[in-house]
C-alpha cells in the first residue's frame, strides 16, 4: 500500500479580473478562498486565497472561475 502523498498547492488570483462572484468559494474543497474585503477598480469585492490553507492544487477553483482570474500551481 502506497503512502498517501499530500499534494501542496497554491493559487494566484488576479484581483482586477475577479468579480467577487464567490463561485470559487463554494466549490473549493478546502475552503481556501474567501472575500478579500477590498473593492477593486471595477467595484467588486475580490476574492483572496488563504495562504495557510490545505490547497491541494486540485484546480477546481480555476475551472469554475468565470473570469479566468485564477491560476493554480503545485509545489
Amino acid at each position: 500500500m502506497k503512502a498517501k502523498v499530500k499534494m501542496k498547492g497554491y493559487i494566484e488570483i488576479n484581483q482586477e479580473s475577479c468579480k467577487g462572484c464567490q463561485i470559487c468559494f463554494y466549490f473549493c474543497p478546502k475552503s481556501s478562498i474567501s472575500d478579500s474585503g477590498s473593492i477593486n477598480s471595477s467595484g467588486y469585492f475580490s476574492a483572496c486565497f488563504s495562504d495557510n490553507s490545505e490547497c491541494n492544487a486540485c484546480g477546481i477553483c480555476a475551472i469554475v472561475c468565470p473570469e479566468a482570474a485564477i491560476e493554480v500551481y503545485r509545489e
Binding site: G9, E16, S17, K19, G20, C21, Q22, I23, Y26, F27, S42, Y44, A57, G59, I60, A62, I63, V64, P66, E67, A68, I70, E71, V72, Y73, R74, E75
Partner: protein, 252 residues
C-alpha cells in the same frame, strides 16, 4: 522544489476584462472554447460566428477569426463560409433567443442539409442582452420582463427543446446537452465541445452542444444561487447528456 502550473489563463483568451456579469456562464464557455481550440490546434483554421446577444462582444475575448451574424442567422452565415472553404472549421455561438426563436428555421435547415458546422448553443432561459425577456426556453412559471406573471403554458407554450427537435432532423450527427454550473459539468462541456469540433473535422455533418448557462442578473439571483438553479430547475426540463450520436454510423 519545482513549481508546476496546474491551470493557466488560456492562451487564446485575450487580456481583457469580460463585460459579463459576475457568475455568468458565457465567461466560462469562452474559457472552454479557448482551451479546446488551443488544444485541438485549430486557431489557424477556425472561424466563429458570434450573435447579437450578451456574447456579441465575444471577439473581444477569443483570439480567433470572427464575423458577427444578424440575429438568428448564424447557421446560414456559417453555411456560406463553410461551403466556400470546407477546410475551415466554422462554428456559431448562439443564445437561446438567437437559435431557438428567430433562428429556428435557419438552424433546422442547416442541420438537415448536414452542413459541416458546429453550433455552440448557450441556453440561459432568457434573452440576456436585451434585459431578461422570456425566451422559448424559459421555464414554466418563470417570471421575466415579458412574462411578469410567470410563463403560462396556455398562452406562451412550453420550454422549447431545440436539441430534441434537432435530433429528429435526420441531418444532425452529434448533439449533446451539458451545463456550466459545476466543475464536473464544466469538464463535460469541454469534452462535448471537442467532440462536436471533431465531428466537423471528420466532415461528418452538423453537431451541436447545448449548454445550460446561468444568468444570475436576469434570474435575479446571486451567482451561486444561479449555478444551483441550473440543476434544480433547468435540468428537469432540459436533461443533460448525449441526445444524438450518429458518429459511428456516419464513419462507416
Amino acid at each position: 522544489m519545482t513549481i508546476k502550473t496546474v491551470y493557466k489563463r488560456p492562451k487564446l483568451l485575450k487580456e481583457r476584462l469580460f463585460h459579463y456579469c459576475p457568475g455568468c456562464g458565457h465567461s466560462v464557455i469562452h474559457k472552454l472554447l479557448c482551451e479546446v481550440i488551443d488544444e485541438m490546434n485549430l486557431k489557424e483554421r477556425i472561424v466563429c460566428i458570434p450573435p447579437p446577444g450578451c456574447s456579441v462582444f465575444a471577439y473581444n475575448y477569443l483570439d480567433i477569426d470572427m464575423a458577427e451574424s444578424a440575429h438568428g442567422r448564424g447557421a446560414a452565415v456559417a453555411t456560406g463560409i463553410k461551403r466556400v472553404s470546407p477546410e475551415t472549421i466554422v462554428f456559431t455561438y448562439q443564445g437561446d433567443g438567437d437559435l431557438s426563436a428567430i433562428g429556428t428555421a435557419e438552424t433546422i435547415h442547416a442541420a438537415n442539409r448536414e452542413e459541416k458546422i458546429t453550433a455552440i448553443f448557450v441556453n440561459n432561459a432568457v434573452y440576456g442582452m436585451t434585459g431578461g425577456q422570456m425566451a422559448p426556453t424559459t421555464m414554466i412559471g418563470q417570471k421575466t420582463t415579458t412574462s411578469p406573471y410567470g410563463r403560462e403554458v396556455n398562452k406562451e407554450g412550453y420550454p422549447l427543446k431545440m436539441s430534441e427537435i434537432l435530433s429528429v432532423v435526420e441531418g444532425t450527427v452529434y448533439i449533446e446537452r451539458t451545463a456550466v454550473n459545476s466543475p464536473k459539468n464544466i469538464k463535460k462541456t469541454k469534452k462535448a465541445i471537442s467532440k462536436a469540433f471533431q465531428v466537423q473535422i471528420d466532415n461528418l455533418g452538423f453537431s451541436m452542444v447545448e449548454i445550460l448557462s446561468p444568468c444570475p442578473t436576469n434570474w435575479k439571483m446571486s451567482p451561486i444561487e444561479s449555478w444551483h438553479w441550473v440543476d434544480k430547475e433547468m435540468v428537469k426540463e432540459f436533461p443533460l447528456g448525449v441526445i444524438k450520436d450518429r458518429i459511428k454510423v456516419k464513419k462507416c
